[in-house]
């Protein structure tokens, strides 16, 4: 590659809290416009913000999980700009003294660990939403009208800013996946990109491979799904390389990703960049973060994906790739681990989870949290395989039936008569019939073509609808054919 991309991501994560960051209004998604508001979050004259303690705890949790330093002294700041969805004319954010600084997240690319630096994590409030409508029925004389919904105004956000350590769209996706997993493990964000709980802006530049200075960067906004992270970055990198290859210069600007047309477009140039006139928020006292609070939060952190992955490898002897996949989502890892704790053989459970379970969930477009199947059902079914009640092959259909109907494996096997036939007396006749029917194959087998045993087993299985115990069939056939 002649060129190398340099990427830094700014991720906005909506925090999981019952109430807003500076008032007691609920944060529920999708309510009627302006029903989740109060004088504070709509910026009435004379109101004052009061910090939601949960927000601070969530930010510290996230900082600790991403190996950041937690500031002992932190301040809020006002970011000033005019926009109808910003009721106070400023956003309460953090600027000079963010709550967390200098951390990192490890991602795995091409089997190797790569460390992506976290510059800072800060707390801030979300803005509301403008709704534009053009209708003859609205307003005097009809026409185009804009409405403001302030339900989202004051919903707590974390902004997580990475160092420009990312070198490809694939790394960016991995970083986002890992960050999302961590946030979800911590329970600080639901990670739902479609609903906007996780939003991403990217700073991108390209340079000749091997060069150490950065090229001119652009900021791409409005990247709202994992697919778009990759697509938008790929597009922007290609665009910048094209500009350079054609003798041009990349212009420092903010660009907007258009997911429908699959392009980035200039939104505003450097000259039009806002001067946000940040200054310390005088309505909120500086935060003095005591070590005890940080220690307390540190002690309450759950096991995080990296540690869990290593433990799955050492404790359950899983292949690293299996462990990586299983820990990618906390509920998935929890599901897996519950099955193992209930007595399932770790690798066998892993195969079922990563194979059949994921296949069915994907088919139904369901997340693991919506999985109708309980780990105990899988373990019960595995016992039926182990004790020879059903064959491994039959088990797949039992598994799917369990998933669809929530019945116990035993009752499915009973109802459908799927019990494995291990009784040699019962199988002998079938074996004899098969041997009698296929003279040619019998002769070829006896002439030394031993792999034909599979053909005979297959025939028996076909007749018994897969219920025959393959081992017993094998033995009977060998006896008969010798």
């Amino acid at each position: 590659m002649k060129y190398e991309a340099v990427i830094g991501l700014e991720v906005h994560a909506q925090m999981l809290t019952d109430t807003k960051i500076f008032c007691g209004c609920p944060t529920t998604f999708g309510a009627e416009p302006n029903t989740q508001t109060c004088p504070v979050c709509i910026g009435m004259p004379g109101v004052l913000p009061v910090l939601n303690r949960k927000v601070l705890q969530h930010a510290i949790r996230t900082g600790l999980a991403t190996h950041c330093r937690i500031s002992s002294y932190s301040r809020f700041a006002r970011k000033n700009y005019f926009y109808p969805d910003l009721p106070k004319g400023y956003q309460i954010s953090q600027y000079e003294l963010p709550i967390c600084e200098r951390g990192f997240i490890d991602i795995i690319v091409g089997g190797a660990v790569k460390r992506i630096g976290i510059t800072r994590i800060h707390m801030e409030e979300d803005a509301g939403k403008n709704i534009h409508e053009s209708s003859a029925s609205i307003g005097p004389g009809g026409g185009n009208y804009s409405f403001v919904d302030l339900n989202r105004a004051g919903v707590p956000l974390m902004e997580i800013v990475s160092e420009p350590d990312i070198r490809s769209p694939q790394e960016a996706v991995e970083y986002m996946r890992k960050l999302r997993a961590i946030l979800r493990y911590l329970g600080v964000c639901d990670g739902n990109m479609e609903q906007g709980s996780l939003r991403c802006d990217a700073n991108i530049s390209v340079r000749l491979s091997g060069e150490s200075a950065f090229g001119t960067r652009t900021e791409v906004k409005n990247i709202n799904s994992f697919r778009f992270v990759e697509k938008a970055l790929e597009y922007e990198i290609k665009r910048q390389i094209n500009v350079i290859e054609n003798g041009g210069r990349v212009v420092q600007e903010t660009r907007l990703w258009d997911p429908i047309r699959g392009v980035t477009e200039s939104m505003r140039g450097k000259e039009e960049a806002h001067d946000y006139r940040y200054f310390p928020e005088p309505d909120l006292v500086p935060l003095m973060i005591e070590k005890e609070l940080v220690d307390e939060i540190a002690a309450s952190l759950p096991e995080l994906p990296d540690v869990r992955r290593e433990r799955f490898v050492s404790e359950y002897h899983l292949p690293p790739a299996d462990a990586l996949l299983l820990v990618s989502e906390k509920p998935l890892a929890d599901w897996y681990e519950e099955a193992v704790t209930l007595g399932g053989q770790p690798k066998v459970v892993a195969n079922w989870v990563m194979g059949e379970l994921m296949r069915l969930l994907n088919e139904d477009n369901k997340s693991i949290e919506e999985c109708p199947l309980q780990p105990a059902q899988l373990v019960d079914m595995l016992k039926l395989i182990d004790d020879g009640t059903i064959s491994g092959k039959i088990a797949k259909s039992v598994f799917e039936e369990m998933y669809r109907t929530d019945k116990s494996p035993e009752s499915i096997v009973k109802e459908k008569g799927l019990m494995q036939i291990s009784d040699s007396g019962e199988l002998e006749k079938t074996v004899a019939d098969v041997v009698a029917k296929h003279h040619n194959e019998v002769e070829r087998y006896r002439a030394g073509e031993e792999k034909l045993i599979g053909f005979f087993v297959g025939q028996v299985m076909k007749i018994t609808k897969g219920k025959a115990n393959p081992q017993v069939v094998n033995e009977l056939l060998k006896k008969k054919l010798s």
Binding site: M44, P45, G46, L48, V50, F82, P84, S146, V148, P282
Partner: protein, 485 residues
């Protein structure tokens, strides 16, 4: 008897002994308003009917032992930058000329809890920006002592209303002297508590780190009575302090013997009005006779206070006033597009001084200027605080003139903002340092204009300055004089 002339303390006594009734008291106050307010113009709006109804209800509860309400039936005025639920709150601005808050400020909630009766909302410099009440978006308030003079500002309406007996006392707000300076000009007692002593929730912000709600009263005891009610931590205001609130009336009579009073030499400057200077020196001498020990001290960074103040206050104001954008409430002028609507709304809705300060503050916070202005001003603010910390190791309180001159004439300084700003030269440092201070009447000029003396205390030590001010007041009778209206 003219009931409107009563202080809170006197009225409470007469109500309790049933010598007077609440409706009588309230009616007398409104009669007084009717008689003088077309000349004084202290009020922006009156709540007469509501007050009269409440007066009848209050009278029924008077004298019942179970009733712990400390202001039952007392008619008070409130500056029009304190939000009162369901009652017009304009900040004396066209921008909010029809704004009716859906919520009650913490201080007025407390007054309501104690049974006060609101007479009306008082005039002020628009968004509390000014020192003469001439910047009101509606009309200028006049000084009851001389109608050709300004009452001071920005709480000029509250000070004039108290001085003219158009209420028993009033609430105001003080960002750089906005209670103390008009109190001095109008011959009443004006108290700015320690920053954080009184919740700012519901006070329409001018400069958040400097704004403090306080009182304008006819005597120091009334100040203590109101302070007992309005003080204390509020969950809705993170900057309100979790300090215990003493009984401010309890220590008023404990005497002043042996208190060390600092006289800052920077507050007795060349060019200041000689009548003011001699009145304040006389007051200090008077206090010395009562047993205090005057000590000359220095607050060396005083001369930078006004410059630092006008950078910090305007910076905060530029941001605090951004919410008046015509989108959600208040004044709006339609425009061709969003930007045009913003520009027209804010150009037409704000007055000249407000726009001047928004521009100053926006400039001071701009990238490239922030370090030179805002940051530097914060550093100066720290030095000014340290000046006070240093002197308070040696003394118990400071005594200074409240203002360098007595009330000036209407329109005398409107053309020269800098001259106007200088009228707050003795009060501004106190806000930068967040200290409590009180202005009490200490004399009159030969023209018959009141003179005020300022006592500045340690953080959260309102008790000492109230005690000293009360002792001074009780041994003089400046506060008993009334303007001839």
């Amino acid at each position: 008897m003219e009931l409107c002339r009563l202080s809170i303390g006197e009225a409470l006594h007469l109500l309790r002994t049933k010598e007077i009734a609440v409706p009588e008291l309230v009616n007398d106050v409104f009669q007084r308003i009717d008689a003088v307010d077309d000349r004084v113009k202290a009020y922006v709006s009156l709540t007469r009917e509501k007050a009269q109804k409440e007066a009848v209800a209050a009278q029924k509860d008077i004298g019942s032992d179970a009733d712990g309400r400390l202001l039952l039936g007392i008619p008070l005025a409130v500056k029009d930058n304190l939000c009162t639920k369901g009652i017009l709150t304009t900040c004396s601005s066209k921008m909010l000329s029809r704004f009716v808050p859906p919520y009650e400020s913490t201080v007025t909630s407390k007054l309501i809890g104690h049974g006060y009766i609101l007479t009306g909302k008082t005039n002020m410099d628009e968004f509390a920006m000014g020192s003469s009440t001439e910047n009101s978006g509606f009309y200028a308030t006049r000084n009851p002592w001389n109608l050709a003079r300004i009452p001071g500002g920005s709480s000029g309406g509250s000070a004039a209303a108290v001085a003219a007996d158009e209420c028993l006392a009033a609430l105001g707000s003080d960002t750089g002297g906005s209670i103390r300076q008009p109190a001095a000009f109008c011959g009443v007692v004006g108290m700015k508590p320690t920053y954080g002593r009184v919740s700012r929730y519901g006070l329409i912000a001018f400069a958040s780190s400097l704004d403090q709600i306080g009182t304008l009263t006819k005597n120091v005891r009334d100040t203590a009575i109101l302070m007992n009610i309005i003080s204390g931590h509020d969950n809705r205001d993170s900057t309100s302090a979790p300090q215990p609130v003493p009984d401010f009336t309890g220590s008023l009579d404990k005497g002043v013997k042996g208190l060390k009073i600092g006289i800052p030499k920077e507050y007795f400057v060349k060019g200041m009005d000689s009548e003011i200077e001699s009145a304040v020196y006389a007051a200090i001498k008077h206090m010395e006779n009562l047993g205090v020990i005057p000590v000359e001290v220095s607050l060396p960074h005083t001369e930078y206070a006004i410059a630092a103040y006008y950078i910090l206050a305007t910076s905060e104001a530029s941001s605090n006033l951004a919410r008046y954008d015509g989108v959600k409430y208040g004044f709006r002028t339609e425009g061709r597009d969003l930007m045009d609507m913003y520009l027209r709304t804010r150009s037409e809705g704000f007055g000249t001084e407000v726009k001047r300060r928004i521009m100053l503050g926006t400039y001071a916070l701009s990238s490239g200027y922030y370090e030179a202005y805002y940051k530097k001003a914060q550093q100066v603010r720290t030095l000014i605080k340290q000046d006070f910390d240093a002197v308070f190791e040696k003394i118990d309180l400071l005594m200074t003139p409240t203002t360098p001159t007595a009330a000036f004439a209407i329109a005398e300084k409107t053309a020269d903002p800098l001259q106007m700003y200088l009228s707050d030269i003795f009060t501004i440092s106190v806000n930068l340092a967040g200290l409590p201070a009180i202005s009490v009447p200490c004399g009159f000029t030969s023209d018959g204009l009141p003179i005020g003396m300022q006592c500045i205390g340690r953080h959260f030590d309102e008790e000492t300055i109230l005690r000293v001010a009360h002792t001074y007041e009780q041994s003089t009778d400046w506060h008993r004089r009334k303007p001839a209206l």
